[in-house]
């Protein structure tokens, strides 16, 4: 058992898979010599050499075009898009090529590709480098979408992503890179499409993802002091989505809250709220409530960014108020 930072866990997960399977390669801007701008690929160049850990020019289209071609021809690449905001400049390759190829070739060509990316806010990077865009990916059939919230999950879900024969968008949360957590020794392989109950409770279900998991847990602590036992679920994987765990929790508590970093309109919780309204209607003891960032470009100022991202206080207050009305 070792205590690792979230950023070190990324490198550990990739290294674990590169050792296991020599078809796994790492490609992206500054991922080799610099060890990644967020230091998530430190040590990979030293261990695996420049043929398997490859720096690229500043061109997201080139990175993904090369990675897709490599995946089509027998490798299992891990490509990095440094800031998830930059998916916007290479979205055509992701949506129209990577996501569609298996289907448009009648299953003859698969794309075993992981695209890892630094996602989300809370670091004062401003509106163009802070977006949480996992909901964009969730809207595209043919992609798997995963967002780990702990160092251990980073390793296990990275391994599961690399072993998937279909493309996976792996959203690392930039605000969590410095977080530390226990990671067991030895190989760790998790399962895509599984949510985890982080804290059991009976009175309300709080769904969280990435940055908001810790905030939801802090809110649950506050609520417990006020006599409300909230169950906190870490959704982890948006596609596939673990509706079994989510709906079982709703069946138990009767109340559903989502805590989303996405801007309000069509954040990931909107889809889950829709599923719950359809499939768990007779379990609900009150309206489903979504706690989200407002529908605005994220501000860079400290005070404003803290104000708009869902905080533990806002989650606790919202849940308490809802349960008392």
């Amino acid at each position: 058992m070792a205590e690792l930072t979230y950023r070190d866990a990324v490198a550990r997960g990739i290294a674990q898979e590169m050792r296991r399977d020599e078809r796994v390669v790492m490609i992206g801007e500054d991922v080799a010599g610099a060890g990644g701008v967020f230091k998530t690929t430190v040590g990979l160049l030293d261990e695996f050499g420049p043929r398997r850990v490859i720096d690229t020019p500043i061109s997201e289209q080139a990175i993904l075009g090369a990675a897709m071609g490599a995946a089509m021809t027998g490798l299992r690449p891990v490509a990095e898009i440094m800031f998830s905001d930059f998916f916007a400049v290479c979205w055509d390759i992701v949506v129209n090529e990577i996501a569609k190829t298996r289907y448009m070739t009648g299953g003859q060509v698969t794309i075993p590709l992981v695209i890892k990316t630094g996602n989300g806010g809370s670091l004062r990077f401003g509106a163009q480098h802070s977006q949480a865009v996992e909901n964009w990916a969730m809207a595209v059939p043919g992609l798997k979408v995963v967002t780990p919230s702990t160092p251990r999950d980073v390793v296990g879900l990275m391994a599961a992503a690399v072993r998937s024969d279909d493309p996976v968008l792996f959203f690392e949360h930039k605000g969590l890179y410095a977080m530390k957590g226990e990671v067991p020794d030895g190989e760790i392989v998790d399962e895509l499409g599984t949510a985890v109950v982080r804290r059991p409770g009976t009175d309300a279900t709080i769904l969280s993802l990435g940055l908001t998991v810790k905030r939801a847990l802090d809110a649950a602590d506050q609520l417990a002091e006020r006599g409300i036992q909230a169950e906190v679920v870490d959704v982890r994987s948006l596609v596939p989505l673990d509706t079994r765990t989510i709906l079982a929790s709703v069946a138990k508590t009767g109340r559903l809250f989502t805590v989303e970093e996405n801007p309000r309109l069509l954040g990931w919780g909107a889809e889950i709220a829709s599923i719950a309204a359809e499939e768990a209607f007779w379990d609900l003891d009150g309206p489903i409530q979504r706690i989200t960032t407002p529908h605005i470009p994220l501000p860079a100022a400290d005070s404003l960014e803290d104000l708009v991202l869902p905080s533990a206080d806002v989650v606790a207050t919202t849940v308490e108020k809802a349960l008392q009305s």
């Binding site: 309000r264 609900l284 470009p297």
Partner: protein, 416 residues
């Protein structure tokens, strides 16, 4: 712009209403505030005015259908220009103004049952309309339903009063043979039927009867009535005397004024005596409630009962005036019956039925102790009580208190 017509909240405690009759058809023009439909709630019928002018473009809820308060009943297509539709969610436009609050808060109705509560009630055969909600604002919580289900353990679910069960089989229908005719019960009849069965299913009822010599109050009334009618415009009734005696007895024996908690394991004590008075109407039996009857004088009771009874018969009674009773008085003698065994109003543990006052030869003890046979006015008083909470001795004590009060006939100071 379309306007939704919703089931109105006709009083604090009314959770559901039945669409009795549509007064307009789809396509009809309606004026603002023009009567649109009739609804029947727990025992009251009323008209619902149109919330705006326009064309009735859709009837959502058919006649004889019961729905929760706030349910959309119909849609009026307004002639007013449509406003720009905005998503009802916090959206900052352009420079990022303040987020607009959603409509959720204003649409929240305090007494709507949640889907979970409705499902649990249907599964457990619990009548939601009879539950005391312990949630915020009196809302019925899933826990309340579970407690009620555990407490009642009814052999037959009273599903008719509960919310429509999920996927429940339709009730058996009867095919009439020659010379028979089948018609649905009126909404009021349905309520009465369900309430009566609910009462008998959920409490341990039995009836104790005493004979009361009411000669003194009959005489008192005969003397005082004409003068009171002329001086104060009050029609002094025997029922007022009976109500006064009953309320006084409730104050000394508050157990008869209590309720059994929804869990069947607790006692709810009521500080005030809210006296239900059964009133026979053309549509069926209704029980308006004299609130704080314990604070009223004989004449006060008399006026209030007469006012409530008149308005109940003419349809001018508000739903709130038909609920909240803690004890009930029913004059079973008004049509000549000597006595019957009244059925408790659900939630109460006592109901006093007063039988016909008849003159009979009886053994009467004079003040000097000598006994003789005399013509006396006698009445049977029958008390039905819930044996879960009230024992026979308590019932007898209550009836004896009422009997002594009426036989003593000391009401002169009330009539001065």
């Amino acid at each position: 712009m379309n306007i939704d017509v919703t089931m109105p909240q006709l009083g604090e405690t009314v959770a559901e209403g039945t669409v009795a009759r549509w007064l307009k058809r789809v396509g009809d023009q309606v004026a603002d505030q023009e009567p649109l439909l009739e609804i029947a709630t727990d025992k009251v019928d009323t008209e619902v005015p149109s919330p705006g002018a326009g064309t009735l473009i859709e009837i959502v809820i058919a006649e004889d259908t019961t729905v929760s308060v706030g349910t959309v009943l119909a849609v009026i297509g307004s002639t007013a220009p449509a406003p720009v539709a905005l998503p009802p969610i916090p959206v900052a436009v352009g420079g990022g103004g303040a987020a607009a609050p959603g409509p959720a808060a204003s649409r929240r109705h305090r007494h709507v049952h949640s889907p979970r509560v409705r499902r649990l009630a249907a599964e457990n055969g619990v009548a939601l309309t009879l539950l005391h909600g312990t949630g915020p604002g009196g809302r019925v919580t899933p826990r309340d339903v579970a407690s009620a289900a555990a407490a009642h353990q009814q052999p037959e679910p009273v599903a008719a009063v509960a919310a429509p069960p999920v996927g429940a089989a339709p009730a058996p229908t009867y095919t009439p043979t020659a010379g028979e005719r089948v018609e649905p019960m009126s909404p009021l009849r349905t309520v009465i039927a369900d309430r009566m069965m609910q009462s008998l299913h959920t409490s341990a009822q039995l009836t104790t009867v005493v004979e009361v010599d009411v000669t003194a109050v009959v005489a008192l009334r005969r003397v005082a009535a004409p003068e009171l009618a002329q001086r104060l415009g009050v029609r002094l009734t025997l029922t007022a005397f009976f109500a006064k005696a009953a309320v006084e007895a409730l104050r000394t024996l508050p157990l008869l004024n209590a309720s059994v908690g929804p869990d069947g394991r607790s006692v709810i004590h009521h500080d005030a005596q809210h006296l239900g008075v059964a009133v026979d109407t053309e549509r069926g039996l209704l029980v308006p409630v004299v609130r704080d009857a314990g604070d009223l004088s004989l004449l006060g009771l008399c006026r209030r009962i007469e006012d409530l009874a008149d308005r109940t018969r003419t349809g001018g009674i508000a739903p709130d005036e038909l609920v909240g009773g803690t004890f009930t008085l029913t004059n079973t003698g008004s049509r000549g019956a000597l006595f019957d065994t009244p059925i408790l109003v659900p939630g109460q543990v006592g109901i006093l039925g007063t039988g016909a006052v008849v003159e009979r030869p009886a053994v009467w003890r004079q003040p000097d102790g000598e006994r003789l046979i005399a013509i006396r006015s006698l009445a049977h008083f029958a008390l039905t009580y819930d044996h879960r909470l009230v024992d026979g001795a308590d019932a007898a004590r209550f009836l004896t208190a009422v009997k002594r009060r009426l036989e003593a006939g000391q009401f002169q100071h009330e009539l001065a």
